[in-house]
Structure formats: C-alpha cells, structure tokens
Point group: C2
C-alpha cells in the first residue's frame, strides 16, 4: 500500500455563512465523504461573494492540493459569481456548456421554460465537464482538479454521491474512540507519551461536561490497522492503570 | 455616522473540524456576535493542528483586518499548540501569565492541584492580556488585535460575552427578510435591478423546497435604515407586480 497522502481543500463561497445567517454544513459533510475516498481535507477558507476574494483563495489551494472543492454561488441570481471567478483564476473564458443547456432546457420544459437567468446555470469555465445533480437540474462543474458544487447541503450531497469512487485516493484514515470520565488535564502526559510511542498514530482529545461531571473522548487515528489497534490498546491500558477506567467506543 | 467599515477574520484551528468529527459552530456564532458590534466577518480559514499552517493563516489575516479571532487549541494536551504558533507568528516568546497562573491555581485548588499540564493553559505570547472564562478557569488571550479563544462553543460564547461592547466598530449591518413562493430563477432580474437601484443595499437569495413547492427567502442588508427600507419596499412591490405575493419576515 502506497504511503502517498492525497489532500483536498474547500472554498466555501457565500455571504450567508459570513453573516451568520446560515450555519455551514458542507465542511463536515465534505470532510466525512473525503475520508471514505482516502483523501484528507487539509484546509478550508470561507470567502464572500466577491470575485477577487474567490480568485485569491482558489489559486494557492488548487496548486498545493490534489483536489479543490468549492460550494456555493452557482445559482441563477446576480450574486452567483463562482463560475466567473474560477474562470478568471484559471485564465479561461466562460462558455455555455451544450450538455448543461440541454439538461436545463429539459428540466424547465414543464416549469416555465429556459429563461436567460436559468441559462446562467449552463455557464462553465471553458474545458469543464459536468457533475450530475439529480435534485434540481443545474449541474455541478469539474475543471481539472477543481470541483464546483452547489451550496445547498442536500444538493451538494447528491453531487458528492455522483462522484463517489471516481477520485483517486490513498489509504483511508481509520479511527476508533475511547471515552473516560476524567478531566483531560489529568491525562495530558499519558496522551502525549502514547502518541509518541506509536509512529503514524494521532490522538485527539475532546473534553465534555455532562450531568455535573467532566469527561473526555479520545479519538485515535492511523492509516495502518495495526498501529491503530496497538495505540488504542496502550491508551486503554494506560487510562486503566492510572485509575480511570476506559469506555470502549466513547461516552 | 462614519462610513468606515470594520472587519474581522477568524482562524478555526482543529483537526476535529477537518476530519468531519465535529460540526463547527463557531463561525456562525462569531459572525452573529460581530454583527451586533458593528464589525463584519470578512474571511475564515480552517487549519489543522500544525504550527506552520496556523502561522501562515494568522499573519496575512491579522494584517488586513481590524481584528483576528482564533478558536481552538488552547487546552492542556499535546495537540494544543495555538499559543506557540501565534507567538511564532508575532515573533515573541511564550511566557507564563501571572494572573492566568493565579486563576488556574484557584480553579484547580479543589480539583487536584495545578499540574504541569494544567499550567500550560497559563502560557501566552509575551505582551498579552487575558479574556475571562467563567466556565472552566482557563482564560482566553488578547494580544494586540488578536483574540485567542476556546474551541468548545459554549466556552467561546462566554468569552465573547466578556468582550461585548469593548471592541470599536462601525454602523451595524441591518437586515430584513422577505419570503416568496417563487423559484429564484423566475425573479433573478428583479433582484439584480432592485439591488442596483439602491446603492448601499445587498440582496441575498436563499431558495428552499418544502412540501412539494419551491420558494425563496430574500435578505436585504444595508447599514442605512432608509436604504434598507426603500430597497425592501421596492422588492416587495416588484414581487407583487410580477404576480408573486411577498411574505413580510420570510417563509
């Protein structure tokens, strides 16, 4: 199995996220989907509906990651400028994609026809392919390593579903969780020592406070199942030896 | 009233967000809080628990915004490296803040004492002040225009509460919402024309699909109450004239 790590970045485009009106759901959704493909989400930027801000985010992120995803700004209205911004970032013109036009003409045939505003959703950076959208007609767009997706989470989900299995990735990150009724500051040294003892492992610590008691969930991550198992076993034993019984699977 | 626009950026620090384990809540929470202070959240980056990634995000964002907030990575464990990374970005050493040490010693007096791991939470970039934390002892940190906050949302909320009214801002962005049972592609031209006709206004369009019908909520934003009112009135009239009765307040 290759050790190559495949990475992705996400640019979330939308004033509605930055104004607090809408709670983003696409970061977590994309992250979970990428894990299954063996690709790690390495960085995310949230930018407003402003062309220069989109270009400034897209260019470095597409250069230093295997894949770049964007969400938002591909609808029919005046503030939907993602396609124009990405075409500018790539230095290519915006063109009407004939297949997208056909899909939209078909979708709107019984819904009032293909108006000029609706035709905006067939515009792509020259050289792009389409990503199917089974929910609302307007397709997503793929251009090289860039994937331009809808902002509405269930439509994004449908587009990701259409891409499942088509992106090359590496070994998925495996994880297992152990819970414990302990303050994380009690066992900080144990966590650090256990992680150091198992190369290729990572231990995340997620404290909580419930029903008057403090506790913590520990997520052990590794690409090798052997490393994962050895690290989790050691951590459980260490917690138990210190007088804090571990709860397999988490609390 | 000054026209100066005050801006902020946020760096969300945490592998748990990028792995999809945890759904971020701090972007929306900070954005809403900033609006009330008359400050606009202009950009967000989500970065892993990696020093260089934090430094690379912090330095440009603190330079081009009035305020920079960070969330996450200030706990007692080995992966809590935010303070070290920001000190590096600022080119200052990490020191123990005497008041933070006193707060922690007091908090842990009846909870097992101030261990070395717990003392980590008194470390600050040299020259910093503290942000009170009424929930769990360990304070947030302010250094110049940088605000270093907890990652756990209710603790972040307490720190924001402690900062309320202390940051200079400008005129808050006012907003009003109008709903309509219409496909956004039907009225895209109306939205663009109405926004153009009212300088200083912005109209966001948020489509939805409920109980078999498509609809849209339109959020009109402006800092001037007169511009807001005139733009919203025009939009409502335009929708009505086009045969789509507006629903004040949204659907």
């Amino acid at each position: 199995m290759s050790d190559r790590i495949w990475t992705a970045a996400l640019v979330v485009i939308g004033d509605e996220i930055l104004s607090g009106r809408t709670q983003d759901k696409n970061i977590a959704q994309l992250a979970s989907w990428l894990n299954v493909q063996g690709i790690r989400l390495r960085e995310v930027r949230v930018v407003p509906d402003v062309e220069e801000a989109i270009v400034e985010a897209v260019n470095p992120l597409r250069a230093r990651n295997d894949y770049l995803f964007t969400t938002g700004g591909i609808g029919p209205t005046h503030d939907d400028i993602t396609v124009d911004a990405i075409a500018k970032a790539l230095g290519v013109p915006v063109v009407i994609h004939p297949e997208a036009r056909a899909i939209l003409a078909d979708y709107y045939e019984t819904r009032g026809g293909l108006t000029e505003a609706r035709l905006r959703m067939a515009r792509v950076p020259e050289g792009a392919d389409l990503i199917p959208n089974r929910f609302s007609g307007a397709p997503g767009i793929r251009h090289g390593n860039i994937f331009i997706m809808a902002g509405v989470p269930h439509i994004t989900a449908g587009m990701l579903d259409a891409l499942t299995g088509s992106l090359e990735g590496g070994a998925p990150v495996l994880s297992t969780q152990i819970g414990c009724w302990v303050a994380e500051s009690e066992i900080a040294d144990l966590l650090a020592a256990t992680e150091r003892a198992h190369e290729g492992s990572q231990i995340g610590s997620y404290p909580f406070f419930r029903e008057g008691r403090v506790g913590c969930n520990f997520v052990v991550r590794a690409t090798s199942p052997h490393v994962l198992d050895a690290c989790a076993t050691d951590l459980s034993r260490g917690l138990d030896d210190a007088g804090w019984p571990p709860v397999p699977g988490g609390i």
